[in-house]
């Protein structure tokens, strides 16, 4: 059993008590909600005549259904409009802070909470969304929950949970040029498998993560869930504190100094005990792309699509399914595969540093003929910042579309969708069958730089050739 890790310390501090079932009742410091998984939770509250216990500890935004082109109300999609109205009504009725479209602070829930300093070290954070693991980048224990649990948090600010084991994933060394946080997490998932993390919280440690900025750490923690781990975190350090200082919700004045002392104390002890430790070498990680229908089906860009005989027995059936669905040739390089759509955005890679990197490769180049390429900032603030830096102009003159903030083509709940068997190069997090809106649409996951490389060449390309 783990001991002395940040996970243990935060868990203990937030334990309200032990339930008769033996599970822990855990206090949730920050509850985030959005339009997809909250309406039914509010309906359940009403049915039971329950109030929201700590309305000031829940924050709402709207992201999944928001159109990224025409945002005028009512939305063209009547169902999206109904979901929007439901959230407006529920947040108002319960006195919950809501960042609506046009507020200047709306965006993907996992982008807006960190950028405003709502996400802080040592917190427990829950949201009806599996990518809540993102917030662990700050040294918070953050995980996704279902709608009945959203109800529980609204009603009690707590959850009934069994404690997770803790696995330390240590990556040391400097990443090669053209290799990004996205490649690191895709590499970890392809190595440990999509269910390797079930039952674990992942602590990302080692010099590679220490050298990363906060947004890169968020990219890594974001995809913990794709590796089966419900939450992932990085111990807070100077990088964390510098990012937080001055953010709207960060403590200030005297509270800032005591906050730093408290946060430092929560870091995993040097002699902490882990349930498992795995070590990687950063230098061995190449730009990584997925070739199949799970995020674990990834390869270094210079490797061929694996043939069935080198795939472990228990993964062969899903590999066969992937060959059939993706129509990529086993044994052949994935480079040179024609792409139809290129998407930079999502809670994995829709932050300002992602857009800067994308713009860096778009500058002076042009989207290939026949390719639809678009950039979707993760929040209204990211959009504003990008425009202040002139990134929008770089994208537009390179032939990319420049959109409003939202989840967009990460999943198919708004007008941005693949059509038919289109192949998409995407900076998002899931390549499941049908994920991007067409039941036969195909997704290759990769870093934003790799997406831009695909966009300007019209095919899957090793971004290092453009450096």
């Amino acid at each position: 059993m783990s001991k002395g890790t940040l996970f243990d310390k935060v868990w203990d501090l937030h334990t309200v008590g032990i339930l008769p079932s033996g599970q822990t009742q855990l206090f949730i410091g920050l509850h985030l909600i959005h339009e997809v998984t909250s309406p039914q939770a509010f309906a359940m509250l009403k049915e039971r005549g329950l109030a929201v216990m700590f309305p000031e500890r829940t924050v709402a935004t709207v992201d999944h259904i928001v159109p990224t082109e025409d945002q005028s109300r009512p939305f063209a999609d009547g169902m999206a409009e109904a979901m929007m109205q439901e959230l407006e009504k529920n947040t108002q009725a319960h006195g919950i802070r809501f960042y609506n479209v046009g507020s200047g602070s709306q965006g993907i829930v996992h982008v807006i909470a960190p950028e405003q300093g709502l996400t802080q070290p040592g917190m427990t954070i829950a949201c009806g969304d599996s990518h809540t693991s993102t917030h662990g980048a700050f040294g918070a224990i953050a995980f996704g929950i279902g709608t009945s649990q959203v109800r529980d948090v609204l009603a009690s600010q707590t959850l009934a949970l069994a404690k997770l084991k803790v696995r330390k994933i240590e990556v040391n060394g400097t990443l090669q040029p053209g290799v990004y946080a996205k490649d690191v997490i895709l590499h970890i998932i392809r190595t440990l498998g999509v269910k390797g993390g079930v039952g674990y919280a992942y602590e990302f440690a080692g010099t590679t993560f220490e050298q990363m900025g906060m947004e890169e750490r968020m990219t890594v923690c974001n995809m913990s869930i794709e590796g089966g781990a419900r939450c992932g975190y990085v111990n807070p350090d100077q990088v964390t504190y510098e990012y937080l200082q001055g953010c709207d919700f960060a403590p200030n004045g005297e509270a800032w100094d005591s906050a730093i002392a408290w946060w430092n104390n929560l870091r995993s002890d040097a002699n902490a005990v882990y349930d498992d430790v795995i070590v990687f070498d950063a230098a061995s990680i190449a730009p990584t792309v997925t070739w199949g229908i799970t995020p674990g089906q990834g390869i270094g860009i210079d490797e061929p699509v694996p043939t069935a005989d080198i795939i472990p027995e228990e993964e062969r059936a899903i590999a066969e399914e992937a060959y059939q669905y993706m129509n990529l040739e086993p044994g052949h390089s994935i480079q040179g595969t024609k792409v139809d759509v290129c998407f930079v955005g999502s809670c994995t890679n829709g932050r300002i540093s992602d857009l800067r990197e994308a713009a860096n490769f778009a500058q002076g180049r042009h989207v290939a003929k026949g390719v639809k390429a678009f950039i979707v900032p993760g929040s209204e603030r990211v959009k504003k910042q990008a425009e202040a830096e002139g990134l929008d102009q770089i994208f537009l003159s390179a032939g990319f579309e420049w959109r409003e903030a939202g989840c967009s083509m990460c999943l198919a709940m708004n007008p941005d969708k693949l059509e038919g068997r289109q192949l998409s190069a995407s900076s998002s997090n899931r390549n499941f069958k049908g994920r991007q809106g067409s039941s036969s649409g195909r997704t290759l996951l990769m870093s934003p730089a790799m997406v831009v490389a695909a966009a300007v060449t019209g095919q899957v390309t090793d971004v290092r050739e453009l450096i």
Partner: protein, 200 residues
């Protein structure tokens, strides 16, 4: 509204394949709704369309089945409770599998839908039996932690905390949680960040 779940007995339905994700269980377009109504018909919508009536959830002899038998990492992907809701609304009352994604498992507990794990050889065997004889009865017993089908008896597993919640009928935790209001406030008062907030 809380009730005990000790055993589930009914006909079974096999669904073969690892890593069946929540986007496949219920495609995102069906999440454009403010209630969980109607999800039962939409469960596995795209997989079913692609298999032109041959998907187990469409085959006439599996209609009315109550125990779903799956393989590894079932329910991976998003946190959408719509996924277990859709499965439950179709009529499933218990799931036997090699392993389950964690959020999916937790969502099932909250709905009173038990998910038990069994050895891969057991799930494979059960799936074969149910394919050969769709009328076979299958029983999941949460007290003896066994699954029984046509004379075959095999052990199944579930975290003890969750198992307790099913057999004691406390799988709906909401009431228990709310009842601890004083301890909740005391815990909140111990957390420094609760005092630092909140910008306006």
């Amino acid at each position: 509204m809380v009730s005990e779940v000790r055993t589930v007995t009914g006909r079974g339905i096999p669904l073969v394949g690892n890593d069946i994700d929540t986007d496949r269980i219920i495609p995102a377009r069906f999440l454009r709704a403010v209630t969980f109504d109607g999800l039962g018909e939409q469960v596995f919508a795209d997989d079913r369309a692609q298999r032109g009536g041959q998907h187990p959830f469409d085959l006439p002899h599996y209609q009315g089945a109550m125990v779903l038998v799956v393989n590894g990492n079932f329910g991976c992907g998003s946190s959408r409770e719509h996924a277990p809701q859709a499965i439950a609304k179709w009529g499933i009352r218990a799931i036997v599998g090699e392993s389950f994604a964690e959020i999916f498992f937790g969502n099932c507990v909250a709905l009173g839908l038990p998910c038990v794990t069994a050895d891969p050889s057991v799930t494979k065997h059960l799936q074969e039996r149910l394919s050969a004889n769709p009328q076979a009865q299958i029983t999941v017993d949460l007290e003896t932690m066994q699954v029984t089908c046509e004379g075959v008896v095999a052990p199944v597993a579930m975290g003890e905390g969750s198992r307790q919640m099913f057999v004691a009928g406390t799988w709906d935790a909401c009431g228990q949680l709310v009842a601890q209001a004083d301890q909740i406030s005391a815990t909140a008062a111990r957390l420094p960040y609760v005092r630092w907030s909140v910008a306006s």
